[in-house]
């Protein structure tokens, strides 16, 4: 028996709007994603095409440009972060790739060029129109748990996520993270296989007479 709620069961009841934008319960850990990106400069798991990466990079820098002593989104390598997260959160990946496709289609239709080759003004114009054509937001305000399938909001929010989960940004906006009680270093779970040799050896202690 499948004890997870099935996606089909939810969708059949008209809950599509409230669930499709939300991921599947998997997290896509920002901490792990940033650790991977920092180590290699590359996404830990690829989930976008080369063209999608170029579009996302250009879009990210229009959403969060440089200014006010703050770096642009791409300076933090947010694309690699997002790509790593999307590999773990299929529903979010579905939304983001759909958003990127729509923007690319608009760019080709309107300007006969890919979005990353447009001028900043043209890109902003495309984004503004894309934002306006989304369905009226049913976004709730407590954790955005019932967010609707607003593709622009999904794109904006994942760029914001990449930017504001980056510890380099925290001091610049006056935020500090304190671990309440460091849980210790991360180690792999205990593997009983390591006991296979010693388990075959005879006991090695003295029996106490009468015990």
């Amino acid at each position: 028996m499948d004890r997870n709620h099935t996606r089909r069961r939810f969708l059949e009841t008209g809950l599509k709007g409230s669930l499709i934008a939300l991921g599947s319960g998997s997290l896509g850990s920002a901490r792990a994603a940033w650790a991977d990106v920092r180590r290699t400069g590359e996404p830990a798991r690829e989930s976008l095409s080369s063209a999608q990466r170029s579009t996302l990079r250009a879009v990210a820098d229009e959403l969060i440009p440089a200014g006010d002593d703050m770096p642009a989104a791409s300076e933090l390598n947010v694309v690699a972060y997002i790509e790593t997260v999307l590999a773990d959160v299929p529903d979010l990946r579905e939304n983001i790739t759909a958003a990127l496709s729509r923007l690319e289609e608009s760019s080709e239709t309107g300007f006969q060029r890919p979005l990353h080759e447009l001028s900043p003004e043209q890109r902003i114009d495309l984004l503004r129109r894309f934002e306006k054509e989304q369905p009226t937001s049913g976004q709730t305000v407590w954790g955005q748990g019932n967010a609707d399938p607003d593709l622009f909001a999904s794109l904006r929010d994942v760029v914001y996520e990449a930017y504001y989960t980056n510890p380099d940004i925290w001091a610049r906006v006056g935020y500090e993270f304190h671990e309440a009680r460091p849980p210790g270093v991360e180690m792999a779970p205990f593997d009983e296989g390591i006991l296979s040799v010693i388990r075959r050896r005879p006991k090695n202690y003295r029996e106490m007479p009468g015990a």
Binding site: G25, V141, Y160
Partner: protein, 535 residues
């Protein structure tokens, strides 16, 4: 196969189930508790990790079970003109894992709403009857606060001193003073000094993503360890399908699925349901039999009706000075009950509390904060982010919700959980009274934020976050108009008890958890005192 019969079977291990289990174990009863979730290790709380804010949008600690979709969750289908966003957690400790710890009490008048104001219904018990249990629950949970609130009856010295107000609390408190409005330091179930084996709060914030130090009370760290020491048995990953009944119409026990999908019956002399204002009616309605074809304890048809959530509205003031709302316990440093009692000249009956609250971190602020206004993208992004993050005081309306039968919990005819048990369908529509109350509170919040020096104000508008789940198996003396009696005992089934927010007659304008705990301790005493009837 039937399992060994317990004296008392408790279903649900949250604020109510833990209190009942511990109290009865102390007396010597053999208690078995079935919990659909599992233990959560504090080291696994997202609050210990720098990416904790992501859980506000996705992940296994999200507040909404429809987002988490874990095996221990069940679907909730929202309906009505104001479909609620239902927030609950399924684990040992229930939603106390997630809550802020705000711990106010009902006022004496809250138990006499019909007599005083001609609305809702009266409770069959008084504040005075419940007061000793409020006090006992305070000691079990561990509370920070200070006695002397003029808006409430005198109460004993709080177990630990108040948590700090911070610049945020001090700023808004001065504004209340300036306007001549009442305010007081909040009671929080967060200890400010080492207490009962728990360390003092270290003011890290992020309380709603789990408190790793145990300074915030959750029943997995206070009630449960002691209940287990006394011999209570807690079975986790046990999803109850229905309450079973014998030929005389008495509760016999419960059928439940274990983690592997195996079906078992746990038998008991007394059954106590503590599954919250949605889970409890869902279980009762799903417990149909020849004797009870419309569900258990439902001869009145009232099970699931009169669902209440509290009208909420968030108003954020933006200040030039930094308020550092991300520092310190997330919950409420102070609150105002200036507009709590009925004054019909305001355009509505009953009243509300204003909670003066802190905020999450930079990512949540960028996403829109609690008012749903994302920081704009583009050239203005950094300027607006600098204006908002760390510069906000939130004033939250928590209004009294009145019972209305059209607001209800039912079994959904189409959706089931992973075990094939029908999902809960929850229909909710704000009354005109609640909408007028929200509008009044919006203006008042703007006024006090202006008095505090706010440059700008953001408003959430009409929202319906369902933190507090109440009223769906109401208490009363009249068996024709209520589901349980003054001891939380079902009118229809003498050895069945409903002990959680479901039993609330009215909601008052305060967070419900301290009242849920007090009612649970009182109900446990009632079960014990009448033990000769069923043990």
């Amino acid at each position: 196969m039937p399992e060994d019969r317990a004296d008392v079977l408790v279903i649900g291990s949250g604020a109510a189930g833990a209190a009942v289990s511990k109290r009865l174990s102390d007396r010597g009863a053999r208690v078995v508790c079935l919990e659909q979730g599992d233990w959560v290790k504090p080291a696994e709380y997202p609050s210990t990790k720098p990416d904790w804010e992501i859980q506000l949008k996705r992940g296994r600690f999200h507040f909404n079970p429809n987002v988490r979709r874990l095996p221990e969750d069940y679907p909730v289908v929202p309906r009505g003109e104001h479909p609620p966003e239902v927030l609950m957690y399924n684990a040992v400790g229930g939603s106390t894992i997630h809550w802020t710890g705000h711990f106010p009490r009902f006022h004496p008048a809250d138990f006499r709403v019909r007599a005083l104001d001609g609305v809702g219904a009266d409770w069959p018990l008084s504040y005075e009857e419940l007061e000793p249990y409020y006090d006992a629950n305070d000691l079990e949970m561990g509370v920070a606060g200070i006695a002397g609130d003029p808006c409430n009856p005198p109460r004993k010295q709080r177990p630990t001193p108040p948590l700090p107000l911070g610049v945020l609390g001090e700023t808004i408190a001065r504004a209340f003073d300036k306007l001549g409005w009442y305010w007081w330091v909040s009671d929080n179930a967060i200890v400010s000094r080492d207490y009962d084996g728990r360390p003092a709060c270290t003011l890290q914030g992020r309380c709603m993503l789990g408190c790793p130090t145990r300074a915030k009370a959750s029943t997995d760290v206070n009630y449960w360890p002691r209940a287990l020491e006394k011999g209570a048995v807690l079975k986790v990953r046990a999803r109850v399908r229905e309450i079973t009944v014998d030929e005389q119409g008495k509760a016999r026990g419960a059928l439940y699925y274990d983690a592997s999908g195996g079906l078992h019956e746990q038998r008991a002399r007394v059954v106590v349901i503590c599954c919250n204002g949605i889970g409890t009616p869902r279980l009762l309605l799903n417990s149909r039999s020849k004797t009870f074809p419309d569900g258990l304890a439902n001869s009145t048809g009232l099970v699931g009706k009169n669902f209440m959530i509290h009208p909420f509205r968030f108003v954020e003031g933006i200040f030039e000075d930094r308020m550092e709302g991300w520092q310190g316990p997330f919950g409420i440093p102070a609150f105002s009950q200036h507009f709590y009692e009925t004054d019909l000249s305001r355009g509505f009956v009953r009243g509300y509390s204003l909670q003066l609250e802190r905020s999450f971190g930079p990512l949540h602020q960028a996403w829109g904060g609690t008012t749903g206004h994302p920081v704009p993208w583009g050239a203005d992004h950094h300027r607006v982010m600098r204006q908002r993050f760390g510069h906000i005081i939130r004033v939250t309306l928590l209004g009294e919700d009145l019972p209305e039968e059209h607001n209800r919990v039912e079994l959904d005819p189409n959706v089931t959980d992973g075990y094939g048990i029908p999902a809960a369908r929850v229909s909710y529509t704000y009354s005109e009274n609640s909408l007028r109350m929200q509008e009044h509170a919006r203006k008042v919040a703007g006024e006090v934020l202006d008095a505090a020096g706010a440059d700008d104000v953001l408003d959430s508008g009409i929202i319906q976050p369902a933190f507090h789940l109440m009223g769906t198996a109401r208490m009363g003396d009249d068996p024709r108009r209520s589901v349980v009696n003054r001891w939380n005992q079902a009118h229809d089934v003498r050895n069945l008890f409903v002990v959680d927010g479901s039993s609330f007659v009215t909601s008052a304008a305060v967070n419900p958890t301290s009242t849920i705990g007090a009612l649970a301790l009182r109900a446990a005493d009632g079960i014990w005192e009448r033990r000769r009837e069923w043990m």
